[in-house]
Subunit: 204 residues, 2 copies
Amino acid sequence: MKTTSIAEETFRAINAHVNKSCAVFNEDELALFNSLLEVRKVKKKTFLLQQGEICDFEAYISKGCVRSYFINENGSEVILQFGIEDWWVSDIASFHEQQPSNQFIETLEDCELLVLTVSSKEELLRQIPKFERFFRLMVQRNLTSLQHRLMNTISLTAEEKYLDFSKRYPAIAQRVPQLQIASYLGMSAEFLSKVRTRLSKKTL
Amino acid sequence: MKTTSIAEETFRAINAHVNKSCAVFNEDELALFNSLLEVRKVKKKTFLLQQGEICDFEAYISKGCVRSYFINENGSEVILQFGIEDWWVSDIASFHEQQPSNQFIETLEDCELLVLTVSSKEELLRQIPKFERFFRLMVQRNLTSLQHRLMNTISLTAEEKYLDFSKRYPAIAQRVPQLQIASYLGMSAEFLSKVRTRLSKKTL
């Protein structure tokens, strides 16, 4: 009985998550879904993916925080995305086209992940085609937030970028080191520090 | 009989397009799909969407060329995307969340579009759930190209941006005015002209 309740606990958040965003799945469907997920516990500062590797996972974060980034021409890290609980992390392009990734994905905290591989995802979609809709809606949300990011990167000042980030992702802004946030916003940590000082003076 | 062949001609490309990217649809399914598409012929320099409006379409471009853009803080146009034959155009965020758009979508040439509205898309997905997969794959491709664009915007030099654009989208590079390409790449037309001169000298 203990095992059952641990399993229930592990899968409760992801089951609420899929039912929230989509058509309601019944118990049998959720049981099949859960049986295809692999639970992975990963220590802080572990690479889930490195540049040049083919991404073999789409992972739901049930606990912890990750970042994806690439190395630009100057050899600097540029953060593409953070992920915390109730988000998915993957390099979708690499995962679906089975091409080498140009990204790194690294845990920033100890994490618990529920992982779909290419073959388990295909099996899920074959057995429960309704999940196509769930993944379509998920990718649409990703696309919307990436578009928002692109527009901000091109058009906002440093202060505006920081304010928008803090407003959109308050949980991440509080949890992730300033150096990482600076990298996400495309500025140095020193410059972000000046921006924050200016902003705090404005709100005094 | 004439009507039939015109209709066949109109829908041939989009039917090949959906069957190429996804599970094969049978004739009845394609007939239903086609019946839900609205054919719109639109003159050059027409707004399909303006900032503040809710985007009511996902449009397959069967003929012509469009651009989507937004106005940045300095009042300048920033091009997000071009679209030509066999591409889809929409503001997905606005379309799916039925929220006002922050984009403009404008035809650059006379266009023929095959349009799905919110309700016709829902009807299609209700009657042929297989189309969920088609749209998921389409959004994934969009996401991949937007991610590529974001990485380039952040990390490449002006010359590299122009070379990458010309290599990825040769048909667009030849067809769209230099001023529009400069806006897409985030530089002035004068600067793009200098970049092209430098590149042509290098290849002499």
